[in-house]
């Protein structure tokens, strides 16, 4: 009960501040090398609504801060997928993935 209340409050907080407060999320990707980092960050950092994006390719975790009024989490995941990488539950766009250099293919670094 208590947690539900907290969640409710949290939601309230968000709904009030939605247009001002950017959201910070982490997305698990299939990217695993410096080249992938470059590709993902350079795409996302120039996308409207995204404050910053950072990929730690050792853990494959992408951290994104974005303004929910301008871009949604789903859109971000879609961008990552279109680049050829998995983003949480969204699978990578197959064609884009095939076009990636070898190191950026799934498990490319351990091949």
């Amino acid at each position: 009960m208590k947690t539900i209340l907290i969640i409710c409050i949290a939601f309230l907080g968000f709904s009030f501040k939605q247009d001002v407060k950017p959201q910070l999320v982490t997305i698990k990707t299939s990217a695993e090398c410096g080249e992938c980092k470059e590709r993902i960050e350079s795409k996302l950092n120039y996308t409207k609504g995204i404050v910053f994006s950072e990929l730690d390719f050792k853990t494959q975790v992408l951290t994104v801060k974005f303004k929910p009024t301008k871009v949604t989490l789903e859109q971000i995941k879609q961008i990552v997928s279109d680049l050829g990488y998995d983003a949480d539950d969204v699978k990578a766009n197959v064609d884009a993935q095939k076009a990636l250099p070898l190191c950026c293919q799934p498990h490319g670094m351990s091949k």
Partner: protein, 736 residues
């Protein structure tokens, strides 16, 4: 009990660092072996990994549990593993990876470090990368060193606006400047050459303190500066830059590349700039900055074949400057005091490298260079004309003795110079032929690396010259490097052009008849300690260098107030330079660099040992750089504080002369903001933001043809705050 001790002992020894170095080569079918970039070396136990640098070199810290297995992997090559044991600590290994059956592409990428001291090099080399060069967007080489404490850039006189570099408090002529290991900015060009290289063409700069390797020639006495220009293999497909500043200076730069067939690539570079309006903010009747026109062009080619690699290019340059009294024009106003300078050069260069298929560690490289240049300079009524033809060839053999721990280089060089300097009625012609031979041995040990080299050159005018050099590096721990250097250098002074800015006075020049070659010995050392600052890489360095001149062209401004005396060194002349620098990433993406420099540059001037004029004994330096998390905003600020320097005494009237012959302490603050878009960069910046101006830069500006006029007592900026804006547009080459 005993076993506990043994275990404890083992633990201690394991807890110490255990470092392993190596080189990774790749061998593809039908191709020669080459260094592998960004190959991955993974420890099986710790799962930690490192990547090789652009030369295939890596350093890995081994884990505490040994033996461990290292996995070497990269794309398109079969993986390899190596079991490393306790005994392998500190050793150097060589790994060959073989191509996969299917030819898969190899992706080459490298990290862009902006400013660093190379850990692997034996010599103390400071590397200024693209990011560092971008911090000072304007305009040419003289600004490229603004964010750096090792090299000082000074204005030579208050009228021509010419700038010269200094290292260790010694004039730029004692620093050998090279463009991709080809001699650059020598002879006539040493006076005004800094302006001849547009900053946007430069990919990186390497600054070596002390004498350089013998391979590069005999002229590096205080240091060696190498410029790497952008190369067709790696540069942008198309690049465009426009710049404008508050004083009306405008600049356009552009370059692009083209693949011609499979083996040839070419890059085209163009530059045009100018200042067309008169600026006299201090109202002394003289232009603060000369009006100028400038154009430069470069076309370079790259060929990469199976056994041969070649690069060649042609560069043409034109510059014309008009400074002096406001309203001056060379053709129309003969009564006004003016300075006109016109420089032209054509430069053809080529480099060829041959590889041996069966001996991948061997190569032969040949460097060729032909240059023609002219300089015309007029300071008031004094006219200088110079013409220079230069030819250069340097052939280098690179190989090993037994194994790669013992490297050897050897070769032959030939320099031809035909230089004529004419000042009014004086003509100084000179033809030089300098055949030379050199050899260098490199020992790569576990912790110690040493380079011993020597070269002998036979100079047709100054006889045989022997230049021994020594460089050593000792890694005390994996984070602490000690370096030492010692060596001899020599050069032939070009009396007039080396000192041409001293024509901007009413003083006479008194030149001794037989000016000898300049010979110096330099020795020094440095300590570089890396450390972690909240898990971020930081480092601190301390270096000290002593340069001692056996002979030097001494320009004595202190004997009397009517003449400058040029003579061979009779007493002692030396320079001591101490510098300490700390580079600290205070916050993520926020770097602070602090430096302090002490210079003691003395020779006999005016009959007593005293500090060379215009050399501040102390200099402090702070550089702050911040990048936002999305890398789209870059902020940079540099504050330099220059200490007092000695000035020469000047007359104001027959009875009056200057009493305060010291400059003042002054700050220079530069700052820049860059906003990066996908294809566009915009930048806005300011120079000399504290608006410090030297008020008495000109002595007696009312009577420039009178006997008290002097424009060489300049030690600080004349113009105040400068504000500039610029834009860059680039099209990256497509990644395959």
């Amino acid at each position: 009990m005993k076993s506990i001790f043994t275990i404890a002992f083992f633990l201690i020894s394991f807890a110490g660092f255990s470092q392993l170095k190596g080189v990774i080569y790749g061998k593809a079918v039908n191709e020669t072996r080459k260094h592998l970039h960004n190959a991955k070396i993974t420890s099986l136990i710790t799962k930690e990994f490192v990547e090789t640098d652009e030369h295939g070199v890596f350093e890995i810290i081994l884990g505490k549990t040994l033996p461990d297995t290292l996995i070497f992997s990269t794309f398109g090559f079969r993986n390899d593993t190596l079991i490393v044991t306790n005994k392998d600590r500190f050793s150097i290994i060589e790994i060959n990876l073989y191509e996969n059956q299917i030819l898969e592409e190899l992706v080459i990428s490298y990290k862009k470090t902006t400013h660093s001291i190379s850990k692997l090099k034996t010599l103390h080399v400071e590397e200024l990368g693209e990011g560092e060069l971008r911090k000072a967007a304007c305009c040419n080489l003289s600004e490229s060193f603004e964010t750096n404490a090792s090299v000082d850039v000074n204005m030579t006189d208050a009228i021509s606006g010419a700038k010269k570099i200094q290292m260790m408090g010694l004039d730029g002529v004692y620093t050998q400047i090279q463009m991709e290991n080809i001699p650059y900015m020598r002879g006539l060009e040493s006076a005004f050459g800094l302006g001849s290289m547009p900053g946007t063409w430069v990919e990186s700069i390497q600054i070596t303190k002390g004498t350089g390797n013998v391979v590069n020639g005999y002229e590096s006495m205080a240091g060696l500066v190498n410029l790497e220009l952008k190369k067709p293999q790696s540069m942008e497909k198309f690049y465009f830059n426009a710049y404008g500043n508050r004083f009306g200076r405008g600049e356009l730069n552009s370059h692009g590349k083209l693949n011609v067939g499979k083996k040839w690539q070419t890059g085209l570079f163009g530059h045009a700039s100018g200042l067309f309006s008169e600026v006299d903010n201090n109202k002394d009747g003289f232009r603060d900055i000369p009006m100028s026109k400038n154009a430069s062009f470069l076309n370079r080619w790259n060929y990469s074949g199976k056994r041969m690699e070649a690069q060649m290019g042609v560069n043409a340059y034109y510059e014309s400057k008009e400074g002096g009294q406001t309203g001056f024009s060379a053709s129309r106003t003969p009564n006004l005091y003016g300075v006109t300078i016109e420089n032209k050069h054509v430069d053809v260069f080529a480099k060829t490298g041959f590889l041996f298929e069966k001996k991948p560690y061997q190569s032969i490289g040949i460097v060729y260079n032909l240059k023609y240049q002219t300089t015309h300079a007029q300071f008031g009524k004094r006219i200088f004309n110079g013409e220079e033809k230069r030819g250069y060839i340097n052939a280098i053999f690179d190989g090993i003795i037994g194994n790669t721990n013992h490297g050897i280089k050897g070769g032959l060089s030939f320099v031809f110079v035909d230089l004529t300097q004419k000042l009014d009625s004086l003509t100084l012609p000179r033809i030089e032929y300098v055949p030379g031979a050199f050899a260098e041995y490199t020992f790569k040990g576990l912790r110690f690396t040493g380079v011993v080299g020597a070269r002998g050159d036979y100079h047709n005018l100054y006889g045989f010259q022997f230049s021994p050099r020594f460089h050593g590096k000792f890694s005390v721990t994996e984070k602490l490097d000690l370096r030492f250097t010692a060596g001899r250098g020599f050069r032939v002074p070009n009396v007039i052009i080396d000192n041409i800015s001293l024509l901007a006075t009413s003083r006479n020049w008194v030149i001794e008849k037989n000016i000898e070659a300049e010979v110096s010995w330099n020795l020094g050392g440095s300590i570089v300690q890396e450390f972690k600052f909240f898990r971020r890489k930081a480092n601190i360095s301390i270096d000290f260098y002593h340069t001692y001149f056996e002979n030097q062209l001494i320009v004595d401004r202190d004997i009397d107030m009517n003449n400058f005396y040029f003579s061979n060194l009779t007493g002692k002349s030396y320079s001591n330079s101490f510098q300490t620098e700390i580079s600290l990433p205070v916050l993520p993406r926020f770097d602070v660099r602090l430096a302090y420099k002490y210079l003691d540059v003395k020779a006999e001037y005016g009959g007593k040992m005293q500090q060379q004029v215009m050399i501040p004994t102390q200099r402090g330096f702070v550089n702050l750089a911040y990048k936002t998390r999305n890398k789209r905003w870059e902020y940079d600020a540099t504050l330099s504080v220059y200490g007092k320097s000695r000035l020469h005494m000047v007359h104001f009237s027959p009875t009056e002369h200057s009493t305060d012959n010291m400059s003042k302490v002054y700050p220079i603050l530069n700052a820049q903001i860059t906003h990066v878009f996908k294809k566009w960069d915009f930048y806005i910046g300011g120079e000399n933001l504290t608006n410090y101006k030297q008020k008495d830069a000109l002595v007696d500006p009312q009577n420039p043809f009178g006997s008290y006029f002097d424009a060489t007592r300049v030690w600080a900026p004349i113009q105040g705050v400068n504000v500039y804006v610029g834009v860059r547009w680039k099209l990256k080459s497509e990644k395959s």
